[in-house]
């Protein structure tokens, strides 16, 4: 009987513990935890200075900005960034077709600013069809790189073949400079719905 009671206590405490650590069974991985945290907490981003492929400087996370969708890339990426680039192109076309292209900014941001000079960014933009109007390619200043990755919760690890693996996702930043949503790279419908709700 006592052993049954202790078992029941352990089951209840264990279930509560697992429920708490998984945010109510909603986040089993660090990536889903990051998305949940962003969707509920909507953290303010620090002001991050970037340089786009045309050499113009722009600031991310500044209040009074355009609604922005950012993805993180490195230009020599052979795999997932390519799919991500196609998604960004489709998203750009959707926004243009809906007539809201001028109110949204799409950004592909390199996390490898040492390798990715302006020429590499421009080549990447040309390759994927990012003309710079709605969608542009940019890189952070070296001093802002770590702050940028940390504030977005993006983890970049070398893959041992000169490339990187990283969380590929679309990050939505509202006009007050808050990170308000993270979408799968191919969840274009979800991203468009979220954009239209925010405009």
């Amino acid at each position: 009987m006592r052993s049954f009671l202790l078992s029941a206590v352990i089951v209840v405490l264990g279930a509560i513990g697992l429920w708490q650590t998984t945010d109510g069974l909603r986040a089993l991985t660090a990536e889903s935890a990051r998305r949940l945290e962003v969707a509920t907490g909507k953290p303010a981003l620090p002001a991050l200075s970037l340089e786009d492929m045309a050499g113009r400087s722009l600031t991310l996370g500044r209040p009074g900005d355009k609604l922005t969708l950012a993805e993180f890339i490195y230009t020599s990426c052979p795999t997932i960034c390519r799919a991500a680039g196609e998604s960004m192109a489709m998203l750009r076309d959707r926004l243009a077709a809906d007539g809201i292209g001028d109110r949204v900014r799409l950004l592909s941001v390199s996390f490898d600013p040492l390798q990715d000079d302006l020429e590499a960014l421009a080549d990447y933009g040309e390759w994927h069809g990012a003309a710079g109007e709605i969608w542009t390619v940019a890189r952070p200043s070296l001093t802002d790189l770590d702050v940028m990755l940390a504030s977005f919760g993006v983890q970049v690890i070398p893959d041992g073949f000169g490339g990187f693996e990283h969380n590929a996702a679309l990050h939505m930043i509202d006009r007050d400079g808050h990170l308000i949503g993270i979408f799968d790279i191919d969840d274009i419908d979800g991203a468009v719905r979220a954009i239209e709700a925010k405009l």
Partner: protein, 195 residues
């Protein structure tokens, strides 16, 4: 012999701690070497904390169920990919891993197993094999990165590692059934629980 066990356990834990960067660089050594070694250390400590002949057959741990449940919930906790990621980023989580895997998995597993009914043991063995099989499938087939700290290729190797572990356990436990090994102790352990 019994005096050796605690020091061996502490030596294992210390070794896992000293070489943690090396072991945790690869998810296969992290999950399939470091974590089992820590649990093994806890199991070795169990005999020092509660000697086999001193463990009461009735009371709070009758049938071994509470201790086994404690171990199972702690295993479930450390099976969460986000906990593995967190252990790599957060020093407190890492420290907690070195306490909870020996103390709340290895040790209670031994304390519970001693008193568990042979039926329950068989059930848990079957569960362990099938769970490793599910993990093997998940880690080799997941279309996304399960841990942010590890590469997809490493994740697939870990899946194959789970498969190897499942096959190894299946063989070991099947051989034990045919040779009758381990049966004697199970029957011996049953006797004190008889009313």
């Amino acid at each position: 012999m019994s005096a050796l066990q605690p020091s061996a356990a502490l030596a294992i834990i210390a070794t896992c701690w000293i070489f943690r960067d090396l072991l945790e660089r690869d998810p296969v050594t992290h999950v399939l070497i470091q974590l089992p070694l820590l649990a093994l250390a806890g199991a070795a400590l169990a005999s020092a904390v509660v000697p086999h002949h001193r463990q009461p057959a009735s009371g709070w741990n009758a049938g071994g169920v509470p201790m086994l449940l404690l171990a199972i919930f702690t295993i479930a906790f450390w099976m969460l990919p986000r906990m593995i990621d967190a252990a790599l980023i957060d020093d407190w989580v890492e420290f907690g891993k070195f306490i909870t895997v020996p103390g709340l998995i290895g040790m209670p597993l031994v304390l519970g197993w001693r008193q568990a009914h042979p039926l329950l043991r068989g059930f848990l063995k079957a569960q362990a094999i099938s769970m490793l099989g599910v993990m093997a499938f998940l880690y080799t087939h997941a279309p996304l990165r399960i841990c942010n700290a590890y590469l997809v290729a490493d994740q697939e190797r870990l899946g194959l590692g789970f498969l190897a572990a499942a096959i190894a356990l299946a063989i070991i436990w099947t051989v034990a059934v045919f040779t009758g090994q381990g049966q004697g102790s199970a029957i011996q352990n049953m006797q004190p629980t008889r009313p």
